[in-house]
Amino acid sequence: MSNRAMLVDYEWCTGCHSCELSCQMKNNLPVGQFGIKITEIGPWQYDDKKWQYTYVPMITDQCNMCADRIEAGKMPLCVQHCQSGCIEIGDVEQLKLKMTNKSKQLLIQP
């Protein structure tokens, strides 16, 4: 098992799809197949003026964590293009430490 994992700060994902398309273009994935995909949770209203409206990116079995880019010293393309800067790929142990610093995060180990 690789030590690489993805940390998502889902407080900030706006659902912009840049991660999805970056992966599709880089890996020549056809329409309808994804290495990372956004899920929309909401929108719905509760408590008079509050809204549940969250997006969460989730990696699929077709994600290879951009091993070639990491080797070349670059960020995985979904991470680099993420417009709200809410995803990070790194060593799972280090990402676990970051989990404790902030709420609304999700650690994904493939």
């Binding site: 659902g15 799809h17 398309l21 273009m25 309808g32 929108p43 719905w44 417009q83």
Partner: protein, 754 residues
């Protein structure tokens, strides 16, 4: 090189080898189009074939990030829909997709020159009209082509210049300048710059910046600032993602923005929340402005704007209390007949709270180059300039508006008054699908013309219907160009990396034709020489700019205190009074209301209650989607798949009462303003709680590139602008695109065709 600029340091030249590939650093701009110009790295093989486009992590503007439209560049560039060579078609065959014949560039140019010169000889140069789409980097070159040819009739195909123009003119009438939100974009070191302060409040008004990326503002700067502590107020008829995160969300009825802004002013004055010291020192007209705002009590406005009066108060208090408050305003304010008063109403909130020229507030965008409002006006003889269509009807077209008025030109084509119009140059605008209104009328008008040239990367409904000559345009990786930015300008270049085949860039086409029409007006042999001439004011050649970009101008806040806003060097603002004019002398001089006012939209539940009985839903149009920029991107498969058909968003209660379900095709049918005509367009139902049950919202610019060319790619089924008549408000600036009425019913076999 002028050393006043601050350049980003690079450890590699703008073009370098990376293994078996070549990387070209630069900026992205049109086509595909947008209003930003992010830093990109274009990767090609050694034969000049495009491999991919990625964000440039060293570019301070986007910091490596990209939106989906740029990420899909390769699919757009390599699309089978691209036009590959110039074509001609007999005028009698207009609309026939099988009648096109491939021709050489020389034959195309010769034909255009002969036809345009014929018109000029027989009817005058003003009888040739030059149409552009949304500005982008086409404006400078096409305006010079029009004016050097001798025609004053260069214009965007937009009703009432109803995008950005009203906000710009609204600001100028009050302050002699334009203002944009301070997200640190003017600094090369961005959020780390010690002068900058994170806005305490961002008041997002009538746009969804993370999706829209409009007016030079990278939308996710808003989330960057939210991470750094900015709180939001959102004024939007829909609960966008940003609205869901806001402290206060005002779900306004479309078109009521000015009233809500005036009610906020009312609260700020009543409760003494405005910045009294700033207003005392730097504003004028407070008494008249306050008396006017007194007419807009929150309770009254809440009733017709369909919001909560306490929310208006909360928004007013929160914005007034902010030390550094951005107003991120959008096209909603422009797309109403009374657009300038709406923009005045919102701009005045910046002014009475002192959020002008301050860190984290509103800043005067640095200007690197002054050519964006058209280039080459000196080439247009005075007697020709006087023939421009527009100023006789609209006062603002006499005052710094360089272009002609689209509704006046359409009318001239139809009536030959005040003089005949005989030809059109249509460059990168698809005006039967987007921007233009009443496409059926527009089509009939253009059919009258003797000669029409289309210039575009792709065939589209407008050019399939109308063009006699088609010139294929290359896309940004295939050509060089200048990028300096809407809003805050910076030095950027677009750097050719890919072989364009037999296509040419917009600017090359304009240069080559311009030289043939008027050699003195175009004294350059190459586009690079022409770009260097424009960069002359910076002390850079184009090649030096390519090597050094991005470059930033020095920036300082509070220029109104140091005298740097006025040409005479005295403190204050560049207005006749030297102050911010809450009562605008400039508006008064045009015979327009000097104070911001609210008027009901031309059709609405209150202004046309009889129509509202038949058309019981308020319709707002132009909702932005991630995957498209206006009428573009429908040919790009991965983008199209994200949102494949035009949608109408409606509340679950609305869907239930109409008996329609998610994904179902419906007709949106509505009055074409107050003309008495009715028109309709098809949409797919999207059910969502983010919208008021009395309001529906739709996206715009739709056509089907895969559709039947003989049916104009379904544009007359899909274009929502069919519900809008040509004609605009009293200033000529602003037109109603966003507050309409409609009724909705299912598309069924018996009614499935227009």
């Amino acid at each position: 090189m002028d050393d006043q600029y601050i350049f980003v340091e690079h450890d590699k030249p703008f073009r370098y080898e990376d293994g078996e590939t070549i990387v070209t650093r630069g900026s992205a701009w049109s086509a595909p189009g947008c209003h930003l110009g992010c830093g990109v790295l274009i990767r090609t093989d050694k034969q000049g074939n495009l491999i991919d486009v990625e964000g440039d992590p060293d570019n301070p503007f986007n910091q490596g990030r990209l939106c989906v439209r740029c990420i899909a560049t390769k699919e757009a560039v390599q699309s089978p829909y691209r036009l590959q060579y110039p074509m001609k078609r007999d005028k009698a065959e207009r609309g026939n997709p099988d009648a096109w014949q491939e021709i050489s560039w020389d034959e195309a140019y010769d034909t255009i020159i002969e036809e345009f010169n014929n018109v000029k000889e027989n009817y005058g140069a003003e009888a040739v009209t030059f149409w552009e789409g949304t500005g982008r980097d086409i404006s400078a070159w096409i305006s010079r082509l029009a004016w050097s040819f001798g025609s004053p009739n260069f214009l965007p195909s937009l009703n009432g210049l109803a995008c950005y123009g009203p906000r710009v003119y609204g600001c100028f009438t009050l302050s002699g300048s334009f203002w944009v939100g301070d997200y640190s974009q003017q600094f090369a070191d961005r959020y780390d710059n010690p002068q900058w302060k994170c806005p305490e409040v961002i008041l997002v008004w009538g746009n969804n910046p993370v999706v829209a990326n409009s007016d030079g503002a990278f939308g996710h700067w808003a989330t960057d600032c939210m991470k750094r502590g900015s709180k939001l107020i959102v004024v939007d008829s829909r609960c966008t993602w940003l609205a869901a995160k806001a402290e206060v969300w005002l779900q306004v009825r479309p078109g009521t923005d000015a009233a809500v802004a005036l009610a906020m002013a009312n609260v700020m004055i009543e409760e003494d929340l405005y910045d009294k010291e700033f207003v005392e020192l730097w504003c004028t007209g407070l008494d008249e402005y306050s008396a006017n705002a007194a007419n807009y009590a929150p309770e009254d406005v809440a009733e017709y704007a369909w919001v909560d009066a306490d929310d208006i108060r909360a928004a007013a208090r929160m914005y007034a209390a902010a030390d550094g408050g951005v107003i991120q305003w959008g096209v909603v304010l422009d797309q109403k007949d009374e657009a300038i008063p709406s923009c005045q109403a919102v701009a005045a909130l910046m002014m009475i709270t002192g959020n002008i020229d301050n860190p984290g507030g509103m800043i005067k965008p640095p200007e690197v180059l002054m050519y964006l409002n058209g280039w080459g006006a000196e080439l247009l003889p005075e007697e020709q300039a006087a023939k421009k269509l527009g100023p006789n009807k609209y006062p603002f077209y006499n005052a710094g508006v360089a272009v002609a008025a689209a509704d006046v030109v359409i009318e001239a084509i139809e009536t030959d008054q005040p003089y005949p119009i005989k030809a059109a140059w249509i460059q990168t605008t698809n005006l039967l699908a987007c921007m233009g209104v009443d496409p059926e009328r527009t089509l009939e008008a253009f059919k009258k013309l003797d000669f029409i040239v289309g210039v575009d990367p792709y065939m589209n409904p407008t050019l399939q219907a109308l063009a006699d000559i088609m010139l294929p345009v290359c896309m940004f990786p295939e050509r060089s160009g200048i990028r300096c930015g809407d809003g805050c300008q910076r030095i950027e270049t677009i750097n050719k990396a890919v072989d364009p085949g037999n296509t040419k860039s917009d600017m090359q086409i304009n240069l080559e034709l311009g030289k043939r029409f008027n050699p003195e007006g175009w004294p350059w042999d190459t586009v690079e020489e022409m770009f260097s001439n424009i960069y002359g004011s910076t002390g850079l050649t184009f090649e030096e700019a390519q090597a050094a970009a991005p470059g930033y101008m020095p920036f300082e806040y509070y220029k109104y205190k140091s005298g740097k806003l006025r040409p005479d060097g005295s403190p204050g603002f560049n207005t006749p009074s030297g102050r911010l004019e809450l009562w605008s002398g400039m508006m008064a001089s045009f015979g327009l209301d000097p104070l911001p006012i609210y008027k009901e939209p031309s059709v609405s539940p209150y202004s046309t209650p009889e129509l509202y009985k038949d058309f019981p839903l308020v319709l707002t149009t132009g909702a932005r989607r991630w995957n498209t920029f206006h009428a573009e991107n429908r040919q790009t498969p991965h983008l199209r798949a994200m949102h494949s058909e035009p949608a109408v968003q409606m509340h679950p209660d609305t869907a239930a009462s109409l008996g329609v379900s998610e994904g179902e095709w419906v007709w949106l049918e509505g009055p074409k303003g107050t003309t008495g005509d009715v028109a309709r367009a098809k949409r797919v139902v999207e059910i969502t709680p983010i919208i008021d049950p009395r309001v529906v919202s739709t996206d715009h610019g739709w056509w089907h590139p895969e559709g039947d060319p003989k049916k104009l790619y379904d544009v007359m089924d899909l274009n929502i602008n069919k519900l809008m008549p040509w004609g605009c408000g009293p200033s000529g600036i602003g037109a109603n695109y966003k507050s309409l009425l409609c009724r909705i019913y299912k598309v069924e076999e018996r009614n499935s065709h227009v």
